[in-house]
């Protein structure tokens, strides 16, 4: 994505799955950015090792071809090289472990969330509860979120990803998501946000999110839960704080 001449070509961020997609969706949270950075770090070592191993393999095939080398070698062991090829991978693993543990522990850092949202998985839909707010009859803000069937999609909407009621959240705000299920196992996953949290009946799982930019982020249930497992998507819409407050007021009314 190039930011030059954006006035000529409006650019859209990739926050939903695309056909033939190879890489990650664009990150919208520091957690997802950390995951992508870790992947890039590990992939660097992967490329080095892949090229090295392929080189040694091809050169061995070249040098020890029976026409070039009719008498086979009778090397059975080499202590020095065996020590080297044990220590070097350990060093590489250490270089991989450092950023990996840094990310792992940074994910566990607790920041006081401003808003708590519950996501409850049902077979074929999600229910969201904003218990921080109560309506006049003391009912918390609760709504179901069903997938929009293919026949009801409008032009430009995404098949198998759109829902009737989105999870509206304020951007640049610490959120706490509490995930559970009312029946079978589900998983609340949104790739752009770097979130995947199992919804287990009888258990409350918690994850925290900080969305860095406004946008609409798509995800899907990620734990097999019946015939409609593929038809219960998740859509998170991050808006400005003012828009969020208006939305909550409208919903409570």
């Amino acid at each position: 994505m190039s930011l030059k001449n954006t006035w000529l070509f409006p650019i859209a961020y990739c926050d939903a799955a695309e056909p033939w997609q190879l890489g990650f969706q664009d990150a919208a949270t520091p957690m997802m950015q950390g995951i992508i950075d870790l992947h890039h770090d590990i992939f660097f070592f992967l490329i080095i090792i892949l090229i090295f191993v392929l080189w040694m393999l091809v050169r061995a095939l070249w040098h020890f071809h029976y026409k070039r080398n009719p008498i086979p070698e009778r090397v059975v062991h080499g202590t020095t090289i065996e020590i080297i090829w044990t220590i070097f991978p350990s060093i590489i693993l250490m270089f991989i472990a450092i950023p990996s543990f840094a990310l792992l522990y940074s994910m566990d850092e607790v920041v006081d969330p401003t808003i708590t949202i519950k996501a409850i998985g049902h077979q074929r839909y999600w229910t969201y509860e904003y218990s921080d707010y109560n309506s006049s009859d003391e009912q918390s803000l609760t709504f179901d979120s069903y997938m929009i069937p293919e026949d009801d999609l409008e032009l430009g909407q995404l098949r198998l990803l759109e829902v009737d009621n989105r999870v509206v959240v304020p951007a640049k705000t610490h959120l706490r998501m509490i995930i559970t299920s009312a029946d079978v196992l589900h998983s609340w996953a949104v790739p752009s946000l770097g979130v995947k949290c199992d919804a287990v009946p009888g258990r409350l799982n918690q994850t925290s999110i900080f969305i860095k930019r406004e946008g609409v982020y798509y995800g899907q249930c990620s734990e097999l839960c019946g015939t409609n497992h593929a038809f219960m998507p998740i859509v998170v819409e991050a808006v400005s704080l003012d828009d969020y407050v208006s939305w909550v007021s409208n919903k409570l009314d």
Partner: protein
């Protein structure tokens, strides 16, 4: 009888004369690996720079994010004469 044992001795000795240097091959392999990995590293650093540039411009208010019918697009602020308005585009 193996193929090697069918050969005259002087031919067999000459065939195995140019045995490869293992240390050189290892260094060549590591060098090539680092060369290939550097391309990936350049790609990664470029992506990180673009991302940081995007968020810096977003914070500075040079660009905005427009949520139009669920499609997020980025617009550059160009003053009151902006002709883009609510234009949005499909996710790339």
């Amino acid at each position: 009888m193996t193929a090697a044992s069918k050969l005259p001795a002087h031919v067999a000795a000459q065939a195995n004369k140019a045995s490869p240097n293992l240390v050189k091959e290892i260094f060549y392999g590591i060098g090539l690996g680092i060369f290939g990995g550097s391309f990936w590293k350049i790609h990664h650093l470029n992506e990180r720079r673009k991302t940081e540039e995007f968020y810096a411009r977003l914070e500075a208010g040079e660009i905005t994010v427009n949520n139009c019918k669920g499609l997020t697009s980025i617009h550059q602020r160009c003053g009151s004469s902006c002709a883009l308005g609510g234009v949005s585009s499909m996710p790339h």
